[in-house]
């Protein structure tokens, strides 16, 4: 059973044991608008919490996607290259970006759970 945590920069990480699947939230895809291009990290790359891990480009803007926690990239969602629209359609599911082996599990506690993220979003409106 995986547990989902959120960052203030609107990334999510679904944790299952020592692996985590990372993507951007539905709020983020909505704010970006139609996504046209995604640059994913290379498998094997080490990412660090808050460091740039991927780039997402929409018709409005280009933005960085930051790693929620330290980790090593073990898989990426190659289907996004062909079909970036998947992120608009299902940001928190089929539109996942990459999978990491979590290096510093203690950092997960610094992230928000679903309820805290909802409250955070209400504060932004």
């Amino acid at each position: 059973m995986s547990e989902i945590r959120f960052t203030k920069d609107h990334e999510w990480i679904a944790v299952d044991g020592d692996t985590g699947v990372v993507g951007i939230t539905d709020y983020a895809q909505h704010a970006l608008g139609d996504i046209v291009f995604i640059e994913l990290p290379e498998i094997g790359r080490q990412v660090s919490k808050g460091g740039e891990a991927a780039v997402v480009e929409s018709v409005k803007a280009a933005s960085e996607v930051y790693a929620p926690v330290d980790g090593d990239v073990i898989a990426v969602n190659n289907e996004l290259a062909e079909e970036p629209a998947r992120v608009n359609a299902d940001a928190e599911g089929a539109g996942w970006f990459f999978k990491i082996k979590i290096v510093t599990p203690a950092q997960l506690a610094e992230l928000m759970d679903k309820a805290a993220y909802q409250t955070y979003l209400e504060g932004l409106a």
Partner: protein, 504 residues
């Protein structure tokens, strides 16, 4: 009048005198030609190209001369330009290009000059570049200038390369970090990244300016430079720039200023007094040469005393023997540390001529007036529209007025819809969705050359559109209805771009 009758089908596909023009490849009638060339002689010679034919079609369309003339004339009639109407594209300084500039640039001695001519035959051209360089140094109070960079981003790269050269020359630990505020132009972090530096974005304050405390906390002896844009992309003057410059210099780093918005402060602020080490000047914007169609631009960079030794080649030296270009480091003692060169030749001559014509025809007092008028125009727009649209930052502004989409909330009309509706109203839209620091940004730069009459017409249009947005959102979603093309599918164009025409 209904849009149905206007956008509805005519038999020809034309609408009034607005012609529906296909691609030139679609007009191909094979065998047609504008010139009557003799058939190429038949060759019997065996080639050494194996099976590769000696002659092959290159796929150019066949058209007669009148067809070609008509095709390009029709395309040109679809062009929207500053000569045709108001063009308030924020951060682009789409001002009038005086016809005097054009007349000067077309003088044969300037227009026909070649970069490989002997120096004795181009003394006038070199004097012009040197005179313009003198003006740029005087207007900024800076010590040196590199005239060759091709445009703004190229100028940024030139400035940052000089900074890297200065750090290399000084020695010490590697400096790779570059701090860039969110209120800077998007090209600033791109430039630093292109040079292999590590960019750190520093969030803006609630009033749309740099966060001085955040900068001071991030400064260190591994920071190469801070890049800021002043006035910034929110159209605001960075008040803390001098204190920032002091902190940057204390950390042994340099301050790069993006001078793209120089039009707001020319003749008012001496950049050297702000503690800036390098700044590019977009001659094509501030000094009024036609731009917006992709060039040519020109982005000279002015430098402080600390960076002056590293200015790239060529430089021009004026002595008793006249003017000469210094093209090699060892040609002059002052160029021993020059970091290299930015371009094969010496810069954009046509833009230099226009920029000097602009400068001399305005004079110091005229330039002083132009920046005041540019700021006045923007503040007039801000004052007249802030009751209708939401201005996220407290005014007064500098050369451009920034609004967000808060007032459109719950109408179902977006910033993009307003931009498209402006096309139907005969205006080039303002810059939209930039800067990113505000939601649904609309950035309006009227410039000093726009008359009050045309600014008023634009303001009335914006107010009218904002009112209509509350009642009739649907009409916006169809806009533009009166343009040669309707709403373009930007998403598909970006996701599945078709980059060349192919026969079906």
């Amino acid at each position: 009048m209904t849009t149905a009758t206007i956008s509805g089908a005519t038999i020809s596909g034309h609408r009034g005198l607005q012609m529906d023009e296909p691609l030139i490849f679609e007009l191909d009638s094979p065998g047609s030609s504008g010139v009557d060339l003799p058939a190429p002689p038949k060759t019997k010679a065996k080639t050494r190209l194996g099976a590769v034919p000696v002659r092959e079609s290159v796929g150019l369309p066949g058209l007669s001369e009148p067809e070609v003339v008509r095709h390009y004339t029709r395309l040109s009639q679809k062009n929207y330009a500053i000569d045709a109407g108001f063009y308030p594209l924020g951060s682009c300084t789409m001002k009038h290009n005086p016809r005097l500039n054009e007349k000067m640039a077309r003088l044969p001695g300037f227009a026909d000059v070649h970069p490989l001519q002997p120096m004795t035959t181009i003394q006038g051209a070199l004097e012009l570049i040197d005179t313009l360089a003198g003006w740029l140094k005087a207007l900024t109070g800076m010590k040196a200038v590199a005239m060759s960079p091709a445009a703004g981003a190229h100028g940024e790269m030139c400035g940052m390369m000089a900074i890297a050269a200065a750090h290399d020359h000084r020695g010490g630990p590697a400096r790779k970090r570059v701090l860039v505020p969110e209120s800077a132009h998007g090209t600033n972090p791109a430039t630093a990244a292109a040079l292999g530096m590590v960019v750190e974005a520093i969030p803006a304050t609630a009033d749309g300016r740099i966060d001085l405390a955040a900068f001071k906390a991030k400064l260190g002896f591994d920071v190469a430079a801070v890049m800021l844009t002043n006035p910034n992309t929110c159209g605001l003057f960075e008040r803390d720039v001098r204190e920032l410059a002091d902190a940057v210099h204390q950390a042994g780093a340099f301050l790069y200023c993006d001078g793209a918005n120089f039009n707001a402060i020319i003749g008012r602020v001496r950049v050297a007094d702000l503690g800036v080490d390098a700044m590019h000047i977009n001659l094509h914007k501030t000094f009024s040469t036609p731009h917006g169609g992709g060039g040519p631009g020109s982005g000279p960079v002015v430098f402080s005393q600390a960076l002056a030794p590293f200015v790239p080649l060529p430089t021009i030296i004026h002595d008793d023997d006249g003017y000469r270009l210094v093209e090699c480091q060892d040609e002059d003692e002052g160029t021993a540390l020059a970091f290299g060169r930015m371009k094969a030749f010496h810069g954009q001559m046509g833009v230099f001529v226009r920029a000097l014509a602009y400068t001399l025809s305005h004079g110091a007092d005229g330039l002083h007036q132009a920046s005041a008028d540019a700021v006045l125009s923007a503040n007039y727009v801000l004052a007249k529209l802030k009751g209708t649209l939401n201005a996220p930052f407290e005014g007064p502004c500098m050369h451009e007025a920034l609004f967000d989409d808060k007032s459109l909330k719950d109408t179902g009309v977006t910033t993009l819809d307003i931009a498209k509706a402006l096309i139907d109203e005969g205006f080039h839209p303002m810059t939209v969705y930039f800067p990113l620091v505000v939601h649904g940004a609309m950035l309006i730069e009227p410039t000093e050359s726009e008359s009050k009459r045309s600014i008023d017409q634009f303001i009335a249009t914006m107010i009218g559109l904002a009112e209509r947005a509350k009642e009739d959102a649907a009409s916006f979603h169809a806009a533009p209805t009166l343009a040669p093309r309707r709403r373009l599918d930007e998403t598909t164009a970006a996701r599945k771009p078709i980059l060349r025409w192919k026969t079906r």
